[in-house]
């Protein structure tokens, strides 16, 4: 079966490539990254700030079952509607460093599109650590999921 989301991570490199084809027109795919209300829905996080423009910045926050808050933030370096977003991403109070994300949005047909994400980490070790976290949980969602798990246990 063809996998919708593809990841390319070569051994010893400090980058990875994520690509995904969507059953959505390009404009809608891009909108999912721009409208705070929509970002909140699919990322499962609260959007405190999202300035979709060059030199803009963003900050997201999730809250776990104990009321602990976890922040994510970054700065936007390039914002070309329906084409490209270049931004940094950082998990606050976590030892993973800052990563650079290059998001390219591509039209395939009138109803389909593709996102290519090129993510660059501070070092190969940082990248592998994020991958391991992903394996264990899923990066941004980590604390959301932990909340679900913890509330189901008891």
């Amino acid at each position: 079966m063809e996998q919708k989301t593809k990841i390319k991570a070569e051994d010893g490199k400090q980058e990875l490539l994520i690509s995904r084809e969507f059953d959505l027109p390009l404009e809608l795919l891009f909108k999912a990254y721009v409208e705070p209300g929509l970002v909140e829905q699919w990322m499962g996080t609260k959007v405190l700030k999202l300035e979709s423009k060059k030199h803009g910045s963003y900050r997201f926050e999730t809250t776990d079952a104990k009321g602990n808050k976890y922040g994510f933030n970054g700065a936007i370096h390039e914002f070309s509607p329906n084409r490209k977003i270049t931004r940094t991403f950082e998990m606050e109070n976590m030892p993973f460093g800052v990563q650079l994300e290059l998001l390219e949005f591509e039209r395939l047909t009138d109803d389909t599109s593709r996102l290519n994400m090129h993510v660059i980490y501070e070092s190969a070790a940082h990248r592998d650590q994020v991958l391991k976290i992903g394996m264990a949980q899923g990066i941004n969602m980590a604390h959301n999921r932990l909340q679900d798990i913890v509330s189901k246990l008891k």
Binding site: K4, L29, L115, K132, I133, G134, G138
Partner: protein, 107 residues
């Protein structure tokens, strides 16, 4: 391939994945791990035991305490941990697609 299947069975459980997440950041004692969950220490201890048996965790004696940390050897091959990472992104993008399809029909 026997041991790899065990590993994937071990991480199929959400609590065990949560334990791995905690330990990816720092080594912890069983008590400190259990403090993050509402379930009993015995339950968490059982999960730690399963993770240790399939060599995802490694205990290390430090004074009177035992600290558990992620076994780097077991998780060293990128290929071994890339699939769950891919799956995580796949789930997230599926959500994006579903949210935007709903948005599209509402318009």
């Amino acid at each position: 391939m026997e041991s790899r299947r065990d590993v994937f069975q071990a991480i199929a459980d959400p609590t065990r994945r949560a334990i791995l997440t905690l330990l990816a950041v720092q080594a912890l004692t069983p008590g400190a791990i259990a403090d993050n969950f509402k379930s009993s220490r015995q339950t968490i201890s059982k999960h730690i035991q399963i993770l240790t048996e399939c060599e995802l965790l490694k205990p290390e004696q430090n004074g009177r305490e035992i600290y558990y940390h992620i076994n780097a050897k077991q998780m060293n091959e990128v290929a071994d941990f890339i699939e769950p990472f891919r799956k995580m992104w796949d789930d997230r993008f599926n959500k994006l697609e579903a949210v935007m399809k709903r948005y599209q029909t509402k318009k």
